[in-house]
C-alpha cells in the first residue's frame, strides 16, 4: 500500500460504509415493497371474499346484492376496481361498470384458495387481481337446486399505479437519505481519521528530526497509539545502540590518541635530542634502534586497541573450535625465539599435548602473543621464562617481576572499568594485559595473575571443564 494512508483509509471506509448502506437500502426497499404488495393483496382478497359472500343462489337464480357494499371503485368514473363473476362452466354472471364490457382473465383456478396474478388494465395501466372459486350461499339454505350447483369464479382486479407510485417515492426518499448518510459519514470519517492520525504525523516529524547530533533524544512511547509502541520501542533501542556505538568510536579514537601520545613523545624527543648535535655513528645507531622499538610499541598498542574495541563492540563472532593449547603456544612462541635469545633468556617448556579446549583460535592467539611479548620484554636479562600448557591451562611464568600484585590487578582492568583516563602502564606498556583479560572473558576462561616484586610473575589462562574439547 503506497500513497497516503489517510486517503486510503477514508476511501476504503467510505466504500465499505456505502456498500453496507446500499445493501441495507436494498433490503429495506425489498421488505417495504413486499409488505405493501402483501397488504394490497390482502385488501383484494378481503374485498373478493366479501363480494363472494353476498352472492346468493335462490330458486330464481343468482342474486348479487351489492347495496351494502362500497362499490364506488367499480364505477366507470373511478375505474379503480374491476369485478367479473362467472359460473365455473363459462357464462359470465356479472361485469362491473368499470370493465365497460371487457373481460378479466380467469386463470386456472382448480386449486383451492385465492389466486393472485398481475394483469394489464385498460389504457396500459398495470393492475393486480385475485381470482376466487367459491360456492354461493343458498337461499333458502336447505334448498336443492339440482344441476345449478356449480361453483362460481370471481376475479377482482385493482389498479396498482398508486401503490407503484408510493413505492417509487419511497425508493427515492430512501436513496436520498442513504446518499446523504454516505456523504455525512464520509465527511465525519475524514475528520476523525485526520484527527486520529495526528499522533502518527507527530511521530513522523519527530523521526525526521533525528540525526547524528541528537542521539541522546528518544521518541516518546506514551504519546503514540498502542499499535505503534513496539515500533517506537524498537526505534529507541536502535537509537541507543547507535549512540553507544558512536560513543565507543569516540572513546576508541580518544584512547588511541591518548595511548599513542607517550610513545610519540618518546619518538619525538629521542629524534630531537639526537639531532641537536653532532654525534657518533654508534649514537645514531642507538637512537635509530630506540626509535624502532618505540614504533613497535605503537604498532602493538594500535593492534591491541583495535582488538579490544572489536571485542567490546561484539563485532567479532566468537568461534568455538577445538584448539590444542600446546600447539598454539608453540606456534605463538616462534617469533619470540630470537628476541628472547638476544636477552639471554632461558626458556623452560612444560607442555602436555593432550590439552584441548573449545575456543576462538584467533583471539586466543592474540592473547597468548601479548603474554609472550610481555614476558620476553620484561623478564630480567638472563632470566627464565617457563611456558606451560596443561589440559585446560595455558601459562607463562617469568622471573624478574617488577610489578606488585596490586599493580598487576590494576593493569587487567583498564578497559573493563571503562576508565580511559587511568591507563596503568608502568612496566607493561601497550594494554596487553587488559586485552588478555578481555579475551579471557570473551572465551569464558579465567585469567589468573600472581605477581611477586623481585620474584616470579605468573600469568595463566584457565579454561573451565565444560570447554574441554
Amino acid at each position: 500500500m503506497t500513497g497516503s494512508l489517510r486517503r486510503v483509509l477514508i476511501v476504503r471506509t467510505a466504500l465499505a460504509v456505502g456498500a453496507a448502506l446500499a445493501l441495507a437500502g436494498v433490503a429495506l426497499d425489498r421488505l417495504i415493497e413486499r409488505d405493501l404488495r402483501r397488504q394490497f393483496d390482502r385488501g383484494l382478497a378481503d374485498k373478493a371474499a366479501m363480494l363472494a359472500s353476498i352472492v346468493e343462489l335462490t330458486p330464481q337464480g343468482y342474486e348479487l346484492d351489492f347495496a351494502d357494499l362500497d362499490m364506488t371503485e367499480f364505477e366507470v368514473t373511478a375505474s379503480q376496481g374491476f369485478l367479473e363473476l362467472w359460473r365455473d362452466d363459462g357464462p359470465v354472471l356479472y361485469r362491473s361498470p368499470s370493465l365497460a364490457g371487457t373481460d378479466l382473465p380467469a386463470p386456472d383456478h382448480s386449486r383451492p384458495g385465492p389466486l393472485y396474478h398481475d394483469l394489464a388494465l385498460r389504457s396500459d395501466r398495470s393492475g393486480r387481481a385475485v381470482t376466487l372459486q367459491f360456492t354461493p350461499r343458498r337461499e333458502p339454505a336447505d334448498a336443492v337446486f339440482g344441476n345449478r350447483q356449480l361453483p362460481l369464479v370471481l376475479t377482482l382486479a385493482r389498479d396498482t399505479s398508486s401503490m407503484s407510485g408510493a413505492i417509487a417515492r419511497f425508493r427515492l426518499a430512501l436513496l436520498a437519505v442513504l446518499l446523504a448518510t454516505v456523504l455525512v459519514v464520509a465527511g465525519t470519517l475524514a475528520a476523525v481519521i485526520r484527527a486520529s492520525l495526528r499522533p502518527i504525523n507527530r511521530l513522523a516529524t519527530q523521526i525526521a528530526g533525528l540525526d547524528d547530533g541528537a542521539l541522546d533524544s528518544r521518541l516518546s512511547e506514551t504519546a503514540v497509539p498502542e499499535e505503534f509502541r513496539p515500533v517506537v520501542g524498537r526505534l529507541n533501542e536502535l537509537l541507543e545502540r547507535l549512540r553507544a556505538a558512536f560513543a565507543r568510536e569516540r572513546t576508541l579514537a580518544a584512547d588511541v590518541a591518548h595511548e599513542l601520545r607517550t610513545p610519540l613523545a618518546g619518538l619525538a624527543t629521542t629524534l630531537e635530542v639526537t639531532a641537536s648535535r653532532e654525534r657518533s655513528v654508534q649514537d645514531y645507531r642507538g637512537a635509530i634502534a630506540e626509535c624502532r622499538l618505540i614504533t613497535d610499541d605503537m604498532r602493538k598498542l594500535v593492534d591491541n586497541l583495535l582488538a579490544l574495541a572489536r571485542l567490546e563492540s561484539g563485532d567479532t563472532a566468537i568461534a568455538r573450535r577445538p584448539v590444542s593449547l600446546a600447539r598454539l603456544l608453540e606456534e605463538a612462541w616462534k617469533p619470540f625465539r630470537e628476541p628472547a635469545a638476544a636477552r639471554h633468556l632461558q626458556i623452560a617448556w612444560d607442555v602436555s599435548h593432550d590439552g584441548e579446549v573449545l575456543a576462538d583460535p584467533a583471539l586466543l592467539e592474540v592473547a597468548v602473543r601479548n603474554l609472550l611479548d610481555n614476558a620476553v620484554s620484561y623478564t630480567d636479562e638472563g632470566g627464565t621464562i617457563s611456558l606451560r600448557a596443561g589440559t585446560v591451562t595455558l601459562g607463562v611464568v617469568n622471573t624478574g617481576c617488577a610489578l606488585t600484585q596490586a599493580g598487576a590487578d590494576e593493569l587487567r582492568g583498564r578497559f573493563r572499568r571503562g576508565d580511559t583516563a587511568r591507563s596503568a602502564r608502568g612496566a607493561h606498556c601497550g594494554l596487553g594485559l587488559s586485552l588478555v583479560a578481555s579475551v579471557a572473558d570473551a572465551l569464558g576462561a579465567d585469567l589468573r595473575i600472581q605477581a611477586e616484586p623481585g620474584g616470579v610473575y605468573e600469568v595463566a589462562l584457565v579454561f573451565p571443564g565444560h570447554l574441554k574439547a
Partner: protein, 224 residues
Amino acid sequence: MRLLVIEDYQPLQNSVVRGLREAGYAVDATGDGEEGLWFATSAEYDVIVLDLMLPGLDGLTLLQRLRRRGHSAHVLVMTARDAVADRVRGLEQGADDYLVKPFAFAELLARVRALVRRKYGAKSPLIRVGDLEVDTCARTVRRAQQPVDLTAREFALLEFLALNQGRVISRAEIWEHLYDARAESTSNTIDVFVGTLRRKLEAGGGSRLIHTRRGMGYQLGETP
C-alpha cells in the same frame, strides 16, 4: 642545576635525561612513583619533571604529598592528558607548569630554564656581575663584551653561582645542585671544577670574580 625526571616510559625517559644532561644539568631519573617521591625528598632538586601516569604512586598523588610536606621544588608536569580539567587540576595540586605530550624537547628545556629562573627569583635571563654577562636564556657568557667559551657543565656552575651572586655557596650546595645521584666524587672534584671555570673567566685578563671563602665555599661577585 639539578633536576629529577620521573617518567616510566623508558625511551622517553632516556631521551629527556640525555637532552637535559647535554644542556648542562645534573639529572636523576626514575620510572617509579614511590621511588620518585623518595628521590624528591632526599635531595635538593631545582626542578622536578613529573609524568602523571606512573606505576606505584601516580603523579598527582606524588605531587600532593610533596606539597603537603612543604616541599618547594618547582614541578613541571608532563602528561598525555590534555583536557582543560586535567590541566587545571594539575596546576591546582601544586604543579608549576604543565606540558602535554608529545612536545618539542626545546620547549621542555625552555620551560625548565624558566622554572629555574623563577626558583632563584631572577626575572631576567641576563645576569650581570661586573663586566661579566651571563645569558641564561642563550646560554652564553661574555666578559668585557668578549664571548667566553664554556662547556655546558661549566655554564651550569657559573649560572648557579650567578643566580646566587653575593651569597657564599658551600661545596655541599654545589655538589647537591650540579651533580646527579650517580656521581661519585670528592670535594676535590668541585675545587678542580671551580678552578677550571675561574681560569676561563680570567683568561681575557679580567679580575677574579669567583672568590674562595676558606672553610665556607665560593662566592661570585666583583669584590671579595
